[in-house]
Amino acid sequence: MAGTGIGARVMRKEDFRFITGKGNYTDDINRPGQAHAYFLRSPHAHAKIRKIDTAKAAAMPGVVAIFTGADIEADKVGGLICGWMIHSKDGTPMKAGAHPALAVGKVRYVGDHVAVVIAETLAEARDAAEAILVDYEPLKPVVDLASATKKGSPVIHDAAPDNQVYDWHLGDEAAVKAAFKKAKHVTKIDLVNNRLIPNAMEPRAAIGDYNSGEEAFTLYTTSQNPHVARLVLSAFIGIAPEHKLRVIAPDVGGGFGSKIFIYAEETICVWAAKKVGRPVKWVADRTEEFLAIAHGRDHLTHAEMAIDENGRILGLHVKTRANLGAYLSTFASSVPTYLYVPLLSGQYNIPAIYGEVEAVYTNTAPVDAYRGAGRPEATFVIERLMEVAARELGMDPAAFRKKNFIKSFPHQTPVIMCYDTGDYNASLAKAMEIHDVKGFARRKRESAKAGKLRGLGYSAYIEACGIAPSAAVGSLGAGVGLWESAEVRVNPVGTVEVLTGSHSHGQGHETTFAQLVAGRLGIPIENVAIVHGDTDKVQMGMGTYGSRSGAVGMSAIVKALDKVEAKAKKVASFVLEAAEADIDFKDGKFSVKGTDKSIDFASVALQAYVAHKFTGEQLEPGLKEGAFYDPTNFTFPSGVHIAEVEIDPDTGVTTIAKWTAVDDFGVIINPMIVEGQVHGGIAQGIGQALLEGAVYDANGQLLTASYMDYAMPRADDLPSFRVDHTTTPCLSNPLGIKGCGEAGAIAAPAAVMNAITDALGHENIAMPATPQAVWQAAQAGLARAAE
C-alpha cells in the first residue's frame, strides 16, 4: 500500500535519530553536580549478614555517602512489591517475603544488593565498595528447583517456611479426571522450560534528582512503564507523593519485559538523591545485568493429554513447578499462573483442562515476565504434547492438529479465555504451502545422502495479548487496571502531538502511531509527533508489554481522535455556516454535504484556536481531546511456524535449514515493523531452543554471567525467515489489531524442538539443544536404530 496510513511500509521515523547517534538514553543524560552510585553485591547465594563495617570505605577519596539496609529501614523506605495477588488452592494468600531495596539481615542470591556507595566518580565508588567489610555467615543455598521445597531445605524467607510461594490451580479437576478415564490413549511428557536471562542492548540505568526548592524528585530510568514506576515508588515504596515525583523514561534500548519492573537500583538512586543533596546516577554493567536483572521462564512441567479413539483430545492435565527466584519481582506471581494456564488450550478444542502450578523460592535472581511471559511456556507444553501425541498415534502431526482445531468462534475455553476470532486451518494450510512441506521427504533424502539428519516441526501457537480488561484482571488479583490513555493535541497550525501512555523501546511507536493519526486526519505524517515516557507531560498510562501498545494504546488514540473529529466538525460547521449534521470529514477535508463548500483540517484547527466564528456560549475554543481505553477482551494472535532443521550427527550441530511463519495478527499497521518484530521474536525463540540457558552451580554461583558462557543468538545462527500472514481482524478493538510483539518468541521453541526430535526420532531432549545434547541424543538414536 502506498502512502503513510494504516498498512503502509513507512520507514521508521525514529531511526534517523538512532542511526546517527542522536538518541537520548538515560546514560546520555548528566545532571549538574551528579554523583555516581555503585552497588556492593552479595557474593553468596544465601548468607546472614552479621555486620557491615563501612568506616574505612567512607573515608576513601571521593566518597559522598554509603548506605546499607539499616539506612533504608531507618528512613522507612518501603520494600519492593509484587503487584499481583495469587491465592493457593486452599485459599491462603501467596507468601511474599520482604524485599528491601538494600538487604536487611540476610542476602538471598548472588548479586543481591548489600550496600550502595555514592562517590564523585564511578571508580572511586568501586574502590570504596571494595573496602567495605561485610561479615557474612554463609547459609546452605537452595538452588535446585525440583527439590526446593523438600523437607529440611534451608528456609529463604521466614514468611514461606517450605520455600513455597503458592500452590495454585485453575480448571475443573473432576472433569479432567473423567476425561482421562474415557481416554483411549494418554500422552505424557516431562518438560524443562529453561531459564533465560534478558539481554536488552541497553543495560538498566537510573538517575535520581532532587530539587530541594520544590521538594520534588525526578527519576530518569530505563522503564517500559514510567507511570507505573511512579505509582509504585510513590504509593508503595513511599519515596514521595506522585505530584512530587516525575519519572522520565527517555529513549530505552530494548526491554523484553525486563524493564517493566521496579528494581532496587532506581529506588535507591531516587531516595539517595535527597539524602546526599545531589543527583545520583547508576548504570548497570553487563555482569550486573546477568546477575540481578529479572530472569525469565524456568519451569519444570509434567503434562498429560487424554485422547479418544478418533484422535480427538478429551482433556489436559498440566502440573508445573515455577522458579520465582529469591524475591517476588513486580509481576512475578502472575506469569506462571494467569498468563500461563489460560493459554494451555492452544488452538484446540479441549473440553477439560486442569492446571496446577507450584511456585517456589530459590537462592537465584528473581524471575519475572520475559518476552511472551507465560505464553511461551504454555505453547511449549501444548505444542510438544501435540507432536508427541501425533507420533504415538501414528498420525501426521499436521493432520492431528487440524482434527483438533477450534473451528467456530467465539470459543470459550475451559480456562477463562474466550477467543473472539481466528482461522487456524488457514494459517496452517498457508504455512505448509509456503514451506513446501510436500518437498520435505525429498529434502530429507538429500540430507541423508550427505550424512545429515533432517527434521520438520510445527508450532501452532496462540497468545493472549492486548493486556487486558481491567475488571477481569482485577478479579484475578491484579493490583492495577490495564487500560491505556491517549491525548491528541492539535496545534493551531494543524500539526498534532499525541501523548500516549504506551512506551516505545524498540517497537516503533513514533512511526506506527503517527501512521494512524496521519491517515485518520488526512495530514502529512511529518506533522505528527508522538510523545511518551514522561509523567510530567503524559497523563497516567500503563506502558508497553504484552503486545498491548497496538491493541490497547492505539485504541485509546482512536477514541481521542473520535472526539477530536467530533469537535472539529463543530468548528467546521460554524466556519462553513452549515448544520453540524451536514458536515462530512474525509481525506483531511471538512465539507458540507451536497455542496462544494469545504475547509481543510489545518484551517479548522486554526479556527478552533482563534475562535472568531463562534462564541464562548456556543463552543469551547481549542482542539485537544483525551481518552482512556479499557479493552473488553484479550486479543488472540495466532499462527503456525514451521521449523526445518538439519543435524550433523558427528558433532551434534543443529542448523535451522528453513523457517516459515504465517501469523494472524489481525489488522497490520506497518508490515515492515511487524516483520521486524517477528524476526526478533523468532531469533529469541531459537535462542531459547538452541543456545540460551542460565546455569547456577550447586552453591548458587551464576556460571553464565557473561557472553563468554551465556550464548545469545547471532545473525549467523539464523536462517532467512519466510514470514507471511493470514488475517481475521480482532473483534474487540476499533482497529482490529491483535498484536505481534511476542509471537515469534512464543512460537519458535516448540517448532525447533519438534523438528529436532523429528530428525532424531527421539522424544525427549531438553532446551537448549546444544551440540553436546543433540550429539548424545543422536548417538543414542543411532545405537537404537542399529539394534
Binding site: A123, D127, T704, M708, Y710, A711, T770, P771, Q772, W775
Partner: protein, 268 residues
C-alpha cells in the same frame, strides 16, 4: 579498572627500555584480553606499555621460504593478506575465524600467543606449522613456547616482535566453536611438511594446547583422514569439562575435527 600509568613508545628500542625500567607493567597489544580483565579488576598493572605506536611490529613479509608476521599484526590483516592466502590459506582461514570483526581488527597475533588462552586458535596453528616466535631477546620454537594453559616461555620484560612461519606445508585448521564465546571448544590444526606431521589440539586440553601423538604417527604413514580410523581419541581424563562440553564430548570432537582438518589440508 584501577588507575595506571600509560606509556606509548614509538620505537622498539623505547619499548625495550620501558619494559626494563617500569615496574609492574603490562604490555598492551590489541587489548582484547588485557582490557576486559582490567575492567573487571582481575588484572591491575601499575603501568601499561602500549605497543600500537611501534610501526616495525606490524606487517607481513615473505622472507625466503618463510612468512614473517609482526607481533602487532591484527587477525584481520593475516586473514586478508594476499601473501598468507597464497602461501598458507589455512592460516588465513584460521585468522578469519577468530572472534568477530571487532576482535579481528584489534586483536593481534603477538597478543594471542603471549596470552596462550587454552581455547585460542593461533597456538594450535603455529605448533602445527612449526613456527618460530621471535622476541626482543631470542628465538623460540613454537614447540617450546607454549608451556601450558595461559603460560609461555616468555620471561619478564620479554617482548614478542615477530613470528616466523615456514611455508610449503599442507596445513588446515578445523574449529568447533563454543556456542557462547566462539573460542575453540575444540580446534585441531594439522600440518604436514615432508614426512613430518603435527596434529595440535586447542580448546580441549586441561593444560592448554597439546599435540596428539597417535594421530601424528598414523598420518605420518598415510596423510588421509581414513588413517585416523581405529586410532583412539585422546583420553577424556586429560581433557576439559565445563557447562558447554564434557571431556567425553571433547574427546569425540577431536577425532571429528582432526579428520576434517586432514581432509581440508589435502583438498588442494
Amino acid at each position: 579498572m584501577y588507575a595506571f600509568d600509560f606509556h606509548r613508545p614509538a620505537t622498539l628500542r623505547q619499548a625495550n627500555n620501558l619494559v626494563g625500567k617500569v615496574e609492574d607493567a603490562k604490555i598492551l597489544a590489541g587489548g582484547q584480553t588485557l582490557l576486559p580483565t582490567m575492567k573487571q579488576r582481575l588484572a591491575s598493572p601499575a603501568a601499561v606499555i602500549d605497543l600500537s605506536g611501534v610501526p616495525e611490529l606490524v606487517g607481513i613479509e615473505q622472507k625466503g621460504r618463510n612468512l614473517v608476521i609482526g607481533a602487532m599484526t591484527s587477525h584481520a590483516e593475516v586473514a586478508s593478506s594476499a601473501l598468507v592466502r597464497a602461501a598458507l590459506p589455512g592460516l588465513a582461514a584460521l585468522a578469519a575465524g577468530i572472534g568477530d570483526p571487532h576482535v579481528r581488527h584489534k586483536g593481534t597475533i603477538g597478543g594471542s600467543i603471549a596470552n596462550n588462552d587454552p581455547a585460542a586458535d593461533y597456538p594450535a596453528g603455529l605448533l602445527a606449522l612449526g613456527a618460530t616466535i621471535v622476541t626482543n631477546r631470542r628465538k623460540i620454537p613454537a614447540g617450546d613456547f607454549f608451556t601450558g594453559m595461559f603460560s609461555t616461555a616468555l620471561d619478564e620484560g620479554e617482548i614478542i616482535t615477530k613470528v616466523i612461519v615456514p611455508t610449503g606445508a599442507k596445513f588446515a585448521y578445523a574449529k568447533f566453536r563454543n556456542p557462547a564465546s566462539r573460542y575453540a571448544m575444540v580446534g585441531v590444526a594439522v600440518g604436514k611438511k615432508g614426512s613430518s606431521v603435527v596434529v595440535a589440539v586447542t580448546g580441549a586440553g586441561s593444560d592448554g594446547v597439546f599435540r596428539w601423538a597417535d594421530a601424528e604417527a598414523a598420518l605420518g604413514k598415510r596423510f588421509n583422514a581414513k588413517s585416523l580410523d581405529g586410532i583412539k581419541n585422546p583420553a577424556a581424563k586429560e581433557l576439559n569439562s565445563d557447562i558447554h562440553a564434557s571431556a567425553e564430548y571433547r574427546s569425540h570432537l577431536i577425532g571429528v575435527m582432526a579428520r576434517r582438518a586432514v581432509t581440508a589440508a589435502t583438498a588442494k
